[in-house]
């Protein structure tokens, strides 16, 4: 897992229009599509694609996609 791959997988959780705007600096909670459904989708993606379990607390603690990647790396 590296940041580029994580960012790509993270972006794939969203619609194509939203995905195109996502990069490691993106503050994901400010994304238009972000909400409880997207949180579930991201948790499931991290679980299935990276074999790590992130929590609602982790999603609150992460600000950018890159900072979420750093949290996932510590798991």
């Amino acid at each position: 897992m590296d940041l580029t791959e994580f960012t790509r997988k993270f972006a794939e959780c969203f619609s194509q229009a939203e995905a195109e705007t996502i990069n490691p600096e993106t503050e994901f909670r400010k994304l238009e599509e972000w909400g409880s459904m997207m949180a579930l989708i991201v948790i499931a993606m991290v679980d299935s694609d990276f074999g790590k379990t992130i929590t609602a607390e982790d999603l609150k603690n992460g600000t950018t996609v890159g900072s979420l990647y750093e949290i996932v790396k510590t798991k």
Partner: protein, 350 residues
């Protein structure tokens, strides 16, 4: 971890009953249109059955049980055990199983009691009934499992209202030599308030304050008598616990995963269940889903899925299943059962 076997028990029939009234999540006002579509695609629930005032979980189970007893041609006096698993009992006291014993015309020599469990209730119920029945050769038993969870949710709460649905079920079990059911049952009370109705019991007794709505976030308003569900924590719990629970059951009981015909999960959330299925490395055709049409019916989801998705196979074939229920408590468990041409009436609507 409680892995154990209940010997000499077989499932002879399963039936289910839902209310006629149907709600469509496409019409659910609290979610904007784009969120509705995402919800239906992700969580997997489109339609929900809602019991109107006057119809309780016990009514749904009673209807399912009467049809099943008639189709099995069981005499009422043969039924020596009735266990009713619900979190929406008719009354605080007495237990509803006593009322069902009388309504079903069962004899006074019948054990009857309620068990307060939700999502794990069907699997737990099979173990409870099985454990009693194995010491009563010749006896027959009814496991009635159901809830009207829609009566416990706030229609101003988008985190619960589009999920829950109502159903009742009846499962007939009897003593049968050389027919075993294997279980792996677990509990974690540390997380007891992840799914909770906080008021109205005896810890937080009903008061005027119980009726006051509170806004927790936009689209989530409820009072103390409504069910609270921490969806993300339950999602994490399911991802963490369910596949290992099933794998342990299969390993300890030396059951080849590839030989299992169907894995029937508690119908909580499609994304969650698909994640669990992939962890288990089980083919999609072995995992039936009923939640698009019937939502999360609490303890009734497993028998409801069997009746609505596997009925033709159940009545005509020898099958084996892994059943897995998980949620409120937190309480979870899996069971391995075998069936052979059981009685399974079509879904009943009340």
């Amino acid at each position: 971890m409680a892995v154990f076997t209940v010997p000499n028990i077989k499932v002879s029939g399963i039936s289910a009953c839902v209310p006629t009234q149907t709600e469509d999540n496409k019409e659910f006002a609290l979610l904007p249109d784009n969120e509705k579509d995402l919800f239906i695609k992700t969580v997997g629930i489109r339609y929900r059955r809602v019991a109107p005032p006057g119809i309780t979980a016990s009514d749904l189970c009673l209807t399912a049980a009467e049809k099943l007893l008639n189709d099995l041609s069981w005499q009422r006096e043969e039924v020596k055990i009735l266990v009713f698993i619900t979190q929406t009992a008719d009354y605080i006291i007495p237990n509803t199983a006593s009322i069902l014993q009388e309504k079903l015309g069962l004899s006074k020599g019948c054990i009857a009691f309620d068990v307060n469990l939700g999502c794990s209730g069907y699997v737990y119920g099979l173990s409870i009934v099985g454990a009693l029945l194995q010491n009563m050769p010749g006896a027959k038993a009814l496991l009635l499992v159901g809830d009207i969870s829609t009566a416990t949710i706030s229609m101003r709460d988008k985190s619960t209202a589009p999920l829950f649905s109502d159903a009742g079920s009846a499962t007939a079990l009897e003593f049968s030599l050389n027919s075993d059911i294997h279980f792996n049952l677990q509990t974690d009370g540390k997380e007891f308030d992840d799914i909770i109705i906080p008021d109205g019991g005896y810890r937080n007794q009903f008061s005027e304050k119980s009726l006051q709505y509170e806004e927790f976030e936009k689209g989530i308003e409820r009072n103390g008598l409504h069910m609270k569900l921490d969806g993300l924590k339950i999602f994490n719990f399911a991802l963490r616990e369910i596949a290992p629970n099933i794998n342990t059951l299969l390993t300890e009981k030396a059951i080849d995963k590839a030989s299992v015909d169907y894995f029937v999960f508690h119908q909580a959330n499609l994304l969650m269940l698909e994640s669990v299925r992939k962890k288990l490395q089980v083919a999609a055709e072995k995992v039936p889903y009923s939640l698009y049409d019937y939502g999360n019916t609490s303890s009734a989801t497993i028998p409801l899925t069997m009746v609505t998705k596997l009925r033709e196979q159940l009545v005509s074939q020898k099958l084996n299943f892994v059943l897995s229920g998980f949620g409120v408590g937190l309480s979870w468990g899996s069971a391995y059962i075998e069936t052979e041409k059981i009685v399974c009436p079509q879904l009943i609507e009340l």
